[in-house]
């Protein structure tokens, strides 16, 4: 369990990092390393160049402006969990304790989680439920992508190979906003067997599932049902057939389909409470 040979770079600025990302060969960006390092040790990932982002100071940190919270990609879960801004991000606050274990949260980063797009991870689904905006940069410039368009498949995102996720914009919660979150896991800190994050605001309802498909997924038909009538939960659960359920070691697609209904029911109870 030793990684294959790789070259290692530790840029100090974002420009240096982007220049390195634009280089030749297979390049991997190292954020918290909680997924990448095990994959390298298993030699599933064999990058030729590892670009360590941990010294790029301007990628971390949290700012707020006009009702939007901008979280730097290298902000670690544990730093976020202690941040005052969580008062305006109650859904994030609700989800963070479910992310793995303290030692992993001490290293893992928000940007790393979104860029990896593990279908079982909590924060990509939270980003989807909040309607987050993902900021990307490369030597060609910067752009931003809605979370709805960012997650494209199993470990697949809209991020180009030479791009880095630089920050994530999340809308600060309004006074009227309600939210729900529920996941079921075999053991505390495990990837969930199934989970859901959802927000209800004046402008609509967003329901995002994780660990039920090949990516974090919206349940738009269920959103429509519940937006029109919050009491029609059974109908909303029926509408989850829209999701392309995929199995894992915890169970097959039928199990995922069943658990999606269970977690939605429990999260919706939180919303109504």
């Amino acid at each position: 369990m030793k990684p294959a040979d790789f070259r290692y770079a530790r840029p100090a600025t974002l420009d240096e990092a982007l220049t390195l990302m634009a280089g030749e060969g297979e390049i991997a960006a190292l954020a918290g390393g909680q997924s990448l390092m095990p994959m390298m040790n298993f030699r599933i990932a064999q990058p030729e160049v590892l670009v360590d982002l941990n010294a790029v100071a301007d990628l971390a940190g949290v700012t707020e402006m006009d009702g939007t919270v901008r979280i730097g990609a290298m902000t670690r879960y544990s730093d976020l969990a202690r941040h005052d801004v969580l008062a305006r991000l109650p859904l994030v606050a609700r989800a963070l304790p479910h992310v793995a274990h303290p030692s992993i949260r001490n290293r893992g980063t928000l940007g790393g989680s979104l860029a990896l797009a593990d279908p079982a991870a909590e924060l990509p689904a939270v980003a989807l439920a909040l309607g987050a905006k993902v900021h990307l940069a490369s030597t060609h410039g910067t752009r931003s992508v809605a979370a709805d368009d960012f997650f494209q498949g199993l470990y697949e995102t809209d991020r180009a190979e030479d791009e880095l996720v630089t920050a994530i914009d999340l809308p600060a919660a309004t006074a009227q906003e309600t939210y729900g979150f529920h996941e079921v896991a075999r053991r505390h800190g495990d990837y969930a067997m199934a989970g859901v994050a959802l927000t209800r605001r004046d402008d609509g309802l967003r329901i995002a599932f994780f660990s039920v498909s090949d990516r974090p997924v919206r349940a738009k038909a269920a959103e429509t049902v519940l937006r029109d009538d919050p009491t029609k939960l059974d109908l909303a659960i029926e509408a989850l057939d829209e999701i392309d359920f995929t199995g894992d070691l915890n169970g097959g697609p039928d199990m995922k389909r069943h658990l999606a209904g269970v977690v939605l029911r429990r999260a919706w109870a939180e919303v109504l409470a």
Binding site: M1, R186, R187, L249, G252, H258, V262
Partner: protein, 790 residues
């Protein structure tokens, strides 16, 4: 057995006290000395290329690129070890008919499980060795595999060892009484179930590890390893590497857990020793977690068709089952992989009065990692079969499960006697243990609460097990069948000039506290403060000859040898003291490091020893002081010393998610005399946690083509602290009459009993919903399927 009866009542008799372990500070301060801490001059590091297929013809292994890689000193394949290592075969003569094929440390011609070592790279560093291993071009031709034990005996199944004609390794039938007539009675009710027990494994904190060094000038091999049976390994290396037995030294210093994983002959470890001999350089191999999952022995993997007949009074009239177990492609050397099935046949129903008993066990080869003895060998299967069916039958006839046990348990005053399978039993306390359990858990109140919660849609269950545990094995376990495994153990106690005791023992310490109880026994029996005792275990050069630690024998056998040696030394010392003090030895005692008589301390042990060692001229010339004593002990008259226990689990099943929460667990254990209550309690608790692991979490999940799908700590679910309940432990102490110490084993009861108790509790919760589940681990998906929700 008679002996020094007063040893348990002396002022500093440590036996029975929760004395802190002497090695705690050393380990907690990072001063432990584990195999990977060993750094030797010119040492090479080994990495293995392992088969990616469950079954494949090896057409060729092109090692030229690997040999040319940076830092590489040598690359060895199976062919390179032919003539260097004598093949080994995992059979024993007392398991009649057991067959297995000759095995080599690195596969030759054919690979038979995913993870079997094919080639070994020796390099300056492990990283360089792994880089080079990735450069070996293996020309492998995958061939049809027999992975599923349930179909491995089918006529069209691929035969793993063609010379055998089938994949059957061993078969045994026990048939007592008239089972068919009992089932045919018209006054009995019958329950029948198919029970499935998944594969799981030991997951030791310290993985398997070895450092081998060979000195050609003396033809001497020193093998440092993380293991439990140094003298057994000494024999194995001598025999299979062509060395004189006395020229092999096996050392096991600190060991980070074993659970039975580390008492077997592993190809990668044999290859490590062989490479050291071939190259004349030290070689280190430390299994990483991935190769641990692929190569550490797995356990269980049973399918059991079982039925039980009971009469209206709840009396078990007959028990009949057929057990099929998959053991991988070979029987493990030298203990064999048939012992677990043998135990299942021996132990099932052993707590109960049972006249009609029939059991068939079949052991089959399959293309998966090898299965062998792991903590509580066979016990979880045996207990789940009988106690699972007992509670199922109780539900069928509408009888309380405790009441039904009271009808069937062997009476505490009925020993000595035998079980239906012929096991000799003595000094057991099933009835008393069950009474203590029921009282401790507040059974009636729990049942009332359960009924009340059910009415509100909360599904809780209570499940029991009454169990036996095999401990303190005699030569009947292995030695009788030709295995190089000692069943006797030895202890040496030496009084040094400073008045301290240096003791050594052939049992081993792997984290469970054996060294601590050996010190307690030596200090208490001989008469010194425990701080003055230094314990050495795990070195074939220095400790007496013995079997090591397995089958819960460290305290019962190693402890008794220590007791006898300490007592013998005491008598020798008092003989000297009597001469020096001009007293009668019968009036003297040793307490707190001094020779005492009725008036108090007369002489310190240091004064006595210094006189003997430095100034022997002061002693009469006909006095020949011996300040060292060695004694050995083995169990006679019984094949094993059985213990018993009663346990109960209280669970809540979330019927929507299928998740099971274990709310409480109670264990009442009778391991005879308790030497150190805290250590025994932690053995029971740790065992229960492993049992809960087997019941709810742990499973080596294989694909249909024999790929292990969850060989990581993220995907293989070991039980974690957050999910574990408080585990209440109580003791009934019925000392065994086979020794003065009276201690039986305690190491495996929790692992053996907890799965049945948890399974029974889950089924107790599910029954009102018309569901039951008979497959472990009881995963959420399986529970939801049983409930018809998925």
């Amino acid at each position: 057995m008679t002996g020094p009866a007063l040893i348990f009542d002396k002022p500093n008799a440590y036996i029975g006290q929760s004395t802190p372990r002497a090695d705690t500070n050393r380990l907690l301060e990072g001063r432990g000395r584990f195999v990977d801490d060993i750094q030797l001059p010119r040492m090479l590091h080994a990495a293995f290329l392992r088969s990616p297929y469950a079954h494949a013809e090896i057409r060729g292994l092109d090692t030229s690129a690997a040999k040319a890689a940076p830092g590489v000193v040598r690359v060895l394949t199976g062919a390179d070890l032919e003539g260097v290592v004598e093949p080994y075969v995992g059979v024993l003569t007392h398991l009649k008919g057991l067959r297995s094929a000759p095995q080599m440390p690195l596969a030759v011609d054919r690979a038979r499980w995913q993870g079997e070592p094919l080639a070994m790279v020796l390099a300056r560093s492990r990283a360089e060795a792994e880089d080079a291993a990735a450069l070996i071009e293996a020309d492998l031709d995958p061939i049809p595999a027999a992975c599923d034990a349930e179909t491995a005996l089918d006529p069209d199944a691929p035969v793993i060892h063609p010379e055998f004609g089938s994949n059957l390794a061993w078969e045994r039938l026990v048939d007592v009484g008239d089972v068919d007539a009992a089932f045919a009675r018209d006054d009995v009710q019958v329950v029948s179930r198919t029970l499935r027990f998944g594969r799981h494994t030991g997951v030791t904190l310290e993985t398997r590890a070895a450092v081998a060094e060979y000195d050609p000038s003396e033809d001497r091999l020193t093998f440092h390893y993380s293991g439990q049976a140094p003298h057994m390994m000494q024999f194995i290396f001598a025999k299979h590497l062509g060395l004189a037995e006395e020229n092999v030294r096996v050392v096991a210093n600190d060991v980070g857990g074993s659970f039975g994983i580390k008492i077997h002959t592993y190809g990668d470890e044999v290859a490590t020793a062989a490479a050291a001999k071939l190259l004349g350089r030290p070689v280190k191999f430390v299994a990483d977690r991935y190769e641990s999952f692929l190569s550490d022995i797995h356990a269980r993997d049973h399918v059991v068709e079982a039925r039980m007949a009971v009469d209206k009074a709840g009396k078990i009239v007959a028990l009949d089952f057929d057990d099929l177990t998959g053991i991988g492609p070979y029987s493990m050397y030298p203990r064999t992989s048939a012992i677990e099935a043998n135990q299942v046949l021996n132990l099932t129903g052993a707590p109960y009065d049972l006249e009609n008993y029939r059991a068939r066990g079949r052991v089959v080869f399959q293309n998966k990692n090898m299965m062998c003895q792991y903590r509580a060998v066979g016990h979880p299967i045996a207990m789940a079969i009988c106690d699972g069916l007992l509670e199922d039958a109780a539900a069928k006839i509408g009888m309380d499960v405790v009441e039904m046990r009271r009808v069937n348990l062997m009476r505490d005053d009925s020993y000595p006697r035998a079980s239906a399978s012929g096991m000799k039993l003595d000094d057991l306390s099933h009835q008393k243990a069950l009474n203590v359990l029921v009282e401790t858990m507040g059974y009636d109140a729990l049942r009332a609460e359960q009924a009340e919660l059910r009415a509100r849609g909360v599904y809780r269950g209570i499940g029991f097990v009454s169990m036996v545990e095999v401990t303190n094995p005699s030569p009947m376990f292995y030695g009788i069948g030709g295995a190089p495994i000692a069943s006797q153990d030895g202890a040496t106690v030496r009084l040094d000039a400073g008045g301290g005791l240096r003791v050594s023992s052939s049992v081993t310490e792997q984290g469970q506290g054996t060294n601590a109880i050996l010190a307690q026994i030596a200090a208490g029996v001989f008469g010194v403060p425990i701080e003055r005792v230094t314990v050495t275990t795990g070195d074939t050069d220095t400790v007496p000859y013995g079997g090591g630690t397995w089958a819960s024998r460290g305290a019962g056998i190693g402890g008794e040898a220590m007791l006898q040696a300490a007592h013998a030394l005491k008598e020798q010392v008092l003989e000297v003291a009597a001469v020096m003090l001009q007293s009668d030895a019968a009036t003297l005692d040793i307490q707190n490091g001094s020779v005492v008589d009725g008036s108090g301390a007369r002489m310190t042990l240091s004064d006595l020893a210094r006189t003997v060692y430095y100034r022997g001229n002061e002693l009469p010339s006909d006095l020949k002081p011996e300040l060292i004593a060695t004694r050995h002990y083995r169990v006679t008259d019984f094949p094993f010393v059985f213990t018993n226990g009663a346990m109960a689990a209280h669970v809540e099943v979330d019927t929507e998610t299928g998740l099971v929460k274990v709310l409480n667990f109670w264990a009442v254990e009778d391991c005879g005399r308790v030497i150190n209550p805290k250590l025994v309690d932690e053995q029971v608790r740790g065992g229960v946690v492993q049992g809960i692991g087997g019941a709810l979490y742990e499973e080596c999940i294989y694909s249909e083509d024999g790929q292990l799908m969850n060989a990581t700590m993220a995907d293989y679910l070991v039980p974690m602290a957050v999910e574990m309940p408080d585990i209440v432990v109580r003791h009934v102490e019925t000392p065994t009459k086979t020794s003065v110490l009276g201690a039986k084993g305690a190491g495996e009861a929790g692992t053996g009993g907890a799965p049945a108790a948890v399974m029974n509790a889950v089924n107790d919760a599910l029954r009102p919903l018309g569901a039951t589940l008979w497959q472990m681990p009881m995963t959420p998906e399986r529970i939801l399927k049983a409930l018809g929700k998925v």
